[in-house]
Symmetry: C2
Subunit: 357 residues, 2 copies
DNA sequence: TGGAGGACCGGAAGCGCTTCCGACAACCAT
DNA sequence: ATGGTTGTCGGAAGCGCTTCCGGTCCTCCA
């Protein structure tokens, strides 16, 4: 350890020793830089012997190429941007894990852009920090507005959406309407006639009419049940908000015998309200959520499972295909959802016919 | 839209139109490339008038510099790597959100490396994909082994750790021992004498003797209570595992009257077991966790709150300081934890003196 | 009025790679 | 023996920036 090296917190830092360059390796191996490059990249046109010599030298000095120089020289970035409105929420974390896994295997770097608040989001689309930095973009879990789309086009790269319907971009998602129907049909099948819905909305994100909501209305209509407006309340995504929404439902003169929540987080919050109100689940009131969030099994919540990680993986694979210039076999992929019956749902206590006003 | 542009899924892609270069802008503005560069970078040595002219041209063609070329030319990367073992878990997602926010404001890109499994992790340290790509590394929530540390040094960059004690790297974390004591002292104060502990271990990560565990032993010792080995069970992080661990505790001939879980996820799982066993919380058995995970408030779990996002922010700020060549005022930052009493803890039913054997 | 100094600017040399193209040698078929 | 391959290799031209270095031109003071 020479005098130039400084020790910071136990880590040896030696900024005076510049990284080796390809030219160094070439010289050391006694070949031209072109040959060295070819050897390192496993290109053809190098004798096995020469290649080995280069490789040995490179290994000896633990040489790695400068990605910047490579990218500059060949014009490809080998990087993709993932932009997501949340990370700490299970759905998004899981999604990003799936995406990251696929890209890592493909040797592609993932640049993360977290656009939680409205300002973040606006700033992202305004400044487009990903400009000239990525070959593609994956938008996770939120609809892109018209104006934003225009900005995104400036990137001049492929875009795919994951976990959120999209008319414009190739995407992978679940069928929200179907998921909602699975939940509603389950409740209906059990005999419930007065069903409440807690709509989850994201205050920081523009809302779109959700399939999960229309599923509620359609299901009711098909069962020839009235649509009582006071039975549907909307709440921002999240447990606390779900709890409040449930409080509202509970304060009705005729509360529902079952509630359909747009997400498990919301459902779990609602369960707290029910419990605190001294009511039992599912005896007094049934509840079903959507997602199969890990917490769902812990609180024995009946829910509609959606495979999140694989949505991420599929989206990443789409990007990979696009990057290779392939045409996508299908513009959008819908993964299926599944009813998981646990113990928060049961038939209503009384004969439904007696309850219905 | 000329004939060259192809439309894929509504997105205009025109690979034939190369990005504008600095030289183009310079020419268009009638200045040399050096001047254009200075104008764009807000360097001095350019008249206000010339600068404005360049800026106008650049804006007109919505020009952005090529980050690769910049990095190549000036040798700085402006990127940092975040390596984390999980993302879908609240703790990690929250942490990364905090980190990302700070770096985004500083104009630094975040490269994400997710090393969930042991193989991932090994591969990461083996191949060091971040090599020559980042100016610093933040390691989130896991201890770095000796051998890994050696590899990390090859990166020749600053490293800081977030959410996990570290003897070597600058870091920010909570005092695990103290958090554990807060939990235990609370239970002890309530009068519990037979307290179980569910140790959370991460199978995919090397474990270290945790402060959370020693807090248990120390607290017991100080209260002159015996240390009954069968009262401590360890479980992989996660709700289901917590549930199983609790089952074990419940099957003891003298089950504990309270349990201290290393994390809220584990605690919530344990609650399910207790509930399924027909026992009531907190009447029959008390439980306390650590984290103040969002779900904790939803299930009314008493817990020790730790500020996760700000740990991430602080870690990022440390990196920023290091990057600017500053010396850190403090090598490690400990953020404080806080007991949040909700309704899963209460005094034991019977006089503790009757229970203690 | 002359020259020193400063403000402004452009040319050009890198930064570390990839890749085109030409050179050379050895080897084949004619 | 000769022309044409084929297989290897190196020189050098970029890729799009930053920045050193020097050149103009103008100002200001002696």
């Amino acid at each position: 350890m020479d005098g130039r090296a400084s020790i910071k917190y136990g880590v040896v830092m030696d900024p005076t020793r510049p990284q080796m360059t390809l030219a160094d390796i070439a010289r050391l191996a006694g070949v031209g830089s072109a040959t060295a490059s070819r050897a390192l990249n496993n290109d053809k046109g190098v004798s096995a012997q020469t290649r080995q010599r280069v490789l040995n030298v490179a290994a000896q000095y633990s040489y790695v190429v400068s990605p910047e120089a490579v990218r500059l020289a060949k014009g490809k970035l080998g990087r993709v941007a993932v932009v997501a409105p949340h990370l700490s929420r299970w759905f998004f974390g899981e999604m990003v894990e799936g995406i990251e896994t696929v890209f890592r295997d493909a040797g592609i770097d993932v640049l993360l852009y977290f656009v939680g608040s409205l300002e973040d989001r606006r700033a992202f689309f305004e400044k487009l920090p990903a400009r000239r930095k990525v070959d593609a973009v994956i938008v996770v879990g939120f609809p892109v507005e018209e104006a934003e789309r225009a900005r995104l086009e400036l990137l001049n790269v492929n875009i795919v959406a994951a976990g959120g319907q999209h008319e414009v971009y190739p995407n992978v998602c679940i069928d929200d309407y179907r998921a909602g129907r699975q939940a509603m049909d389950h409740l209906l099948f059990l005999g419930h006639r007065r069903i409440g819905m807690i709509e989850a909305v994201d205050l920081d994100q523009p809302t779109e009419p959700s399939g999960r909501s229309s599923a509620y209305r359609e299901a009711l209509k098909e069962s020839k049940l009235p649509l009582d407006p006071e039975l549907v309340v909307s709440a921002p995504w999240g447990g606390e908000q779900g709890a409040q929404a449930m409080d509202a439902l509970l304060s009705l003169k005729t509360p529902p015998t079952a509630v359909y929540a747009h997400s498990d987080e919301v459902a779990v919050g609602a369960m707290r309200s029910i419990r605190r109100a001294g009511l039992r689940i599912p005896e007094d009131i049934s509840i079903v959520g959507i997602d199969d969030h890990p917490v769902a099994s812990l609180v024995d919540l009946t829910t509609i499972r959606q495979p999140v990680r694989s949505q991420g993986e599929l989206a990443a694979q789409m990007v990979l295909a696009l990057l290779e210039g392939k045409t996508l076999p299908e513009r959008e992929i819908t993964v299926s959802t599944q009813l998981i019956v646990r113990s928060t749902t049961a038939p209503p206590r009384q004969d439904p016919s007696q309850i219905s006003s």
